[in-house]
């Protein structure tokens, strides 16, 4: 086996090795119940990472996701009383529109996606701060339970948030592997010029990819908001870097075209294991961002396809 052939399995190997390693230090980590609670805990992050996968799969990136999620927590909290469960639709629509706007700016105004989404992120942040009046808002507990209690129930030991994550993963996987849209995403990610010469509407595909990442960010935000029973312009902070790390560590490189949503599942699990390992190893909470920053750099350096990037700026 050559190194290149092994590369696709790296994320799996890493995951198993990490689980065993942490398990060796702390056998209780390997118990089913602790694992389930650990996994259920990171569902919003996983959903955000799923959305990020679409942006990175086409060779772009979406830096607005965290702010979109922030905005959505505020929107959900503010309008819950008025619209009940339908506030979810408003949130999803907001995410879709912000993502589509980033896509439009990228494809039609030729602003690279990292700038376009960064800028849209700040616009969303402003919206969140304005709407919340820069305060931490809390949800009306009755209205929340009436509309969204189903999100965090538990049926036969299976937490509902895990079911939601599973459904979204299946949906994203189906979209990626079984639909013309998914095939087009792959073509754009691995050979955009060939996709254009085959008559694909590349701009529309890219706009939709960013719209999808915005949508997933909104769903993640909604779950946060319900879980923490409130909204705040900073609620989802810290999750952007984790989502990017999850996608890249999972094996979807920044250059796009390979990897996908299953990889992101593995990547997210790796992130979770590392995070809980840091707790077990009593690494100071203030160090976490630094550790993930370093992992991000290493992950990109290891996975990037240099033949596709002649110039790095």
């Amino acid at each position: 086996m050559r190194f290149e052939n092994l590369k696709p399995y790296f994320p799996w190997i890493t995951l198993v090795a990490l689980v065993l390693l942490v398990g060796a230090f702390n056998p209780s980590f390997l118990s089913l119940s602790s694992m389930v609670s650990l996994v259920a805990d990171i569902v919003p992050l996983f959903i955000m990472a799923l959305g990020m996968t679409f942006a990175i799969y086409i060779g772009g990136i979406d830096l607005s996701m965290q702010q979109v999620a922030n905005l959505v927590t505020v929107v959900a909290t503010v309008y819950l009383m008025q619209f009940g469960v339908f506030v979810g639709l408003i949130c999803v629509a907001a995410g879709f529109l912000i993502g589509a706007a980033s896509g439009w700016i990228t494809t039609r105004q030729f602003v690279p996606s990292f700038v376009a989404t960064l800028a849209m992120g700040f616009i969303a942040l402003s919206g969140a701060r304005f709407l919340s009046g820069e305060r931490a808002l809390s949800m009306n507990a009755e209205a929340r339970d009436a509309s969204f209690a189903w999100m965090f129930g538990n049926t036969g030991g299976v937490p509902h948030e895990m079911v939601i994550a599973g459904v979204l993963l299946a949906l994203a996987w189906f979209l990626q592997t079984r639909t013309t849209f998914g095939r087009a995403l792959k073509a754009v990610g691995s050979g955009e010029l060939a996709a254009i010469s085959s008559g694909l509407n590349v701009d529309r595909i890219k706009i939709l990819a960013f719209a999808l990442s915005g949508t997933f960010a909104a769903i993640a935000g909604l779950m946060f908001s319900v879980k923490l029973s409130g909204g705040d312009a900073n609620l989802a902070n810290g999750f952007l870097i984790l989502a990017i790390v999850a996608v890249l560590v999972g094996g979807t490189p920044l250059t796009g075209g390979v990897g996908g949503v299953i990889n992101t599942l593995v990547g997210t699990l790796i992130v979770v294991v590392i995070r809980s390992a840091m707790v077990y190893l009593e690494i100071d909470a203030t160090m976490q961002q630094m550790v993930f920053g370093v992992i991000l750099i290493v992950a990109i350096a290891l996975t990037i396809d240099r033949s596709k990037m002649r110039i790095v700026k």
């Binding site: 013309t180 792959k186 073509a187 010469s197 085959s198």
Partner: protein, 501 residues
């Protein structure tokens, strides 16, 4: 003084240089000719240090040298004047001339611009260019930039001991006639300072300028002729290496086309900056070949048919109506298929497998409500793998890992299986070996038998003549002449070359 002995260079699947011997003496001008893919560029890259040879030796004045990069070659007096100009257009002329060698003008950590300007003026004098060295390069004409490039290379004279060897890569391809003559007289004068290697596809120019001419074919030097003994005819025959065989281009399979209807109709079409006032009809079953040098507008015409270029005047009718909005998508929907020159970048998607590539342009035919019918895709791929004898282990093989010829077959299968009947071929045989070329020629004949109209920009003139029913010769974007090429009554190379240049 500068010598290559038995130099070999291999790339995956291609033996680009086969034991090449090459010598150049002090003050000599050596010509280098060959068809596309004969190994000229590879040889040049070995000479100026961009490639390292796999075998053989490079010696300067008897001493063996090995260059890891162009900079090391420059330090040994070897400079390159690039065809695609290497000047950075937003810098001034002097900054370009001394790019990478500014240290000599640095005083107390800052550049002494006056000293640099004076030095640049001295260099520009060598090429008789009287311009302000502080001018922005973008403001110069193309010919002037070429001279600045030459001046840049001539700075080596002051910088190194020993002799200079300067490579000129197609220096005349975009110059007007008078400019070419000026350049030539300049080069002759400069032989007192340097030796020159002159690479061009214009054989007459090479003959005029060079003391000695190396003729390359398939990675080998097949002949070395002296200026006095050189004849265009003989050199051309050596370049091709054979009298062109009629069967090679499947001429016996060429059938008359149906002139009563037109698939594509160009009526006085211009694209500003590319070509002007071009008219032709493409009929079912016709192979129409656009002939001209690089930049003559042939590729732009293909791009116009494919909707990638908007005509600035005139009308383009594809299958009965003009494009309402010119995009590649609109063209594909009308049954136009494009086989681009950059096969690995625009032709196939590197990273997608055989069936994914074949259905990429026609996914709607293999999906219902956006959900792909992958089994049908695979069946299609198997059918075309069989039909075109594509060499691939299975339909799951990444197309990036196929050989060039098989990649090309996948691209052709993509268009033909989708029912495209206007096929645009841009250098379809570039970089293919002979067997793969013949496969492509067979496919061209099959497609025109099936009633497809083909617009071809060929890799070589022989290919253009051999394959086409109709030849349109272009020069600088202007129509020159139209030839009919029914089998047995084909125009000759010289008929074409005469109108191209």
């Amino acid at each position: 003084m500068y010598q290559l002995k038995k130099v070999d260079k291999k790339f995956p699947g291609v033996h680009a240089l086969k034991a090449v011997d090459f010598t150049i003496g002090r003050g000599e001008i050596v010509g280098l000719v060959g068809e596309n893919g004969a190994g000229k560029s590879t040889l040049m890259k070995v000479i100026y240090g961009a490639y390292q040879p796999d075998g053989g030796t490079v010696t300067i004045d008897g001493k063996t040298v090995r260059f890891q990069n162009p900079r090391q070659a420059m330090e040994h007096g070897i400079g390159m004047v690039f065809q695609e100009q290497s000047l950075i257009t937003n810098l001034t002329v002097m900054e370009n001339v001394f790019l990478g060698f500014e240290q000599q003008f640095v005083r107390f950590g800052v550049i002494d611009w006056k000293a640099m300007a004076a030095a640049a003026r001295h260099q520009l004098q060598k090429v008789k260019l009287d311009i302000d060295p502080a001018m922005t390069t973008a403001k110069l004409s193309f010919a002037q930039r070429q001279l600045v490039e030459l001046a840049k290379v001539l700075t080596l004279e002051e910088r190194i001991d020993g002799d200079l060897v300067i490579l000129l890569d197609e220096p005349t391809s975009v110059l007007a006639k008078e400019e070419v003559e000026l350049l030539f007289s300049l080069v002759r004068e400069l032989t007192s300072r340097a030796s020159f290697i002159f690479v061009s596809h214009r054989i007459d120019e090479v003959l005029e300028l060079s003391d000695r001419i190396y003729v390359m074919k398939d990675g080998e030097v097949v002949d070395v002729v002296d200026h006095d003994a050189a004849e265009v005819d003989a050199i051309q025959r050596k370049m091709v290496g054979r009298d062109v065989d009629k069967e090679y281009y499947r001429e016996q399979k060429q059938k008359p086309f149906d002139p009563s209807s037109a698939l594509v109709r160009f009526d006085a079409v211009s694209v500003a900056g590319n070509y002007q006032n071009i008219s032709f009809d493409l009929h079912p079953g016709e192979v129409l070949c656009l002939v001209g040098t690089e930049g003559s507008g042939r590729e732009a015409i293909l791009r116009t048919i494919f909707g990638l270029e908007k005509p600035s005047s005139g009308s383009v009718i594809v299958k009965g109506s003009p494009y309402s909005k010119a995009t590649a998508r609109a063209a594909v929907e009308r049954g136009v298929g494009y086989v681009p020159r950059e096969r690995k970048i625009e032709g196939i998607v590197n990273g997608m497998n055989v069936y994914e590539n074949m259905t990429l342009s026609q996914m709607a035919n293999y999906a219902s409500n956006g959900v792909l019918k992958i089994a049908e895709e695979k069946a299609l791929a198997r059918q075309w793998i069989e039909r075109l004898s594509i060499k691939t282990p299975d339909v799951y093989k990444d197309c990036g890992g196929l050989s060039g010829g098989n990649q090309q077959k996948v691209v052709l299968a993509k268009w033909r299986s989708g029912g495209s009947d206007v096929i645009l071929l841009d250098h379809p045989t570039r970089g293919l070996d002979i067997g793969a070329k013949e496969d492509v020629y067979d496919m061209v004949r099959e497609m025109s038998d099936a009633g497809a109209g083909i617009v071809l920009v060929a890799d070589t003139l022989e290919e253009a003549i051999g394959l086409s029913h109709t030849i349109i010769v272009l020069k600088d974007g202007v129509f020159q002449k139209r030839f009919d090429g029914s089998p047995g009554d084909k125009p000759s190379l010289f008929d074409l070359v005469h109108h191209m240049i």
